[in-house]
Symmetry: C2
Subunit: 163 residues, 2 copies
Amino acid sequence: MLRISKMTDYAVVLATHLAATKEPHAARDLALETQIPEPTTSKVLKQLSRAGVVASQRGAKGGYTLARPAHEIGIEEVIQAIEGPIAVTECSDESTDSLCEYEPNCGVRANWQRINHAVHQALSQITLADMAFPFVDTLITIARSGKEAERARLGESPQGDAH
Amino acid sequence: MLRISKMTDYAVVLATHLAATKEPHAARDLALETQIPEPTTSKVLKQLSRAGVVASQRGAKGGYTLARPAHEIGIEEVIQAIEGPIAVTECSDESTDSLCEYEPNCGVRANWQRINHAVHQALSQITLADMAFPFVDTLITIARSGKEAERARLGESPQGDAH
DNA sequence: TGAATACAGGACTGAACCAGTCCTATATGT
DNA sequence: ACATATAGGACTGGTTCAGTCCTGTATTCA
């Protein structure tokens, strides 16, 4: 259901990698560090740049950095940068004889909005900061899923997640 | 990100249609009512049947019914019936020289679990009953009712991508 | 029993999409 | 100027998806 393309996976890995430091990373270096093929790395970073998730600096000593602090970048932003806007049902973009006109199904299809909203909200709550420091907190979160882990995460990113 | 295939859309429409009544619906009738091509309707219903979302009755007077009451069937169940299990990152199913061995990225990738969980939970909360009677409660939650809701929704979330 | 009805299960195909590469600009620092 | 790095497309092989069709099996009813 949640189709995670490889490119999206790459994007998350790369963005998370950038979250670790503040200095610009060249695409080539990131490719080496993440073991993602270099041309592909470059392609993904370009997409992230266009989407405003990362900032780029050309020329010598250039490279990529996060466009904003890690805790301000929701994971859904990264995903959308690659996969495009949330897929709504075709109901709305078919200008042909749409079912909506004469079928009660339209109400059904309208509910996709609700589904999308739920997913969107769920993803927005996870930031790059959460992804960047999985060792101390996130994996514990999965294992225990308690408030203890929550406190640990908040302690690890002292800025406090703005959500 | 949430890739909604056409088949999945069909599945939700069909399942919702079944939620309205208790009598068996032949695939052919459902196809007519929903305007979905008949062979495709049949295919989707078969998948739903195999997944245990709908029950089937062969022979004359046969057809499909919901396997359980509509309010007991979560929408993610329907989606999974078509799209298969939630896609986790390939990190786990690549038995080659996985990055996990020597890269901190593994922690990053493990976080997909977290993302998946959030999405899963969000979808489980929406049942077929919610989809079947949007006029009574669901659309009220979102906005209002009928076409007024449609307009209101389009107005406030202008992400209508035209494919 | 036999005919009609309706689902079950796969095989198949054309089209769309995706991962990945490569090439040519353009910007930047030394 | 020159080396470095991103920007932006064009292109390709492979995979997946939407949709159809065919054969088999179960069920009802005359």
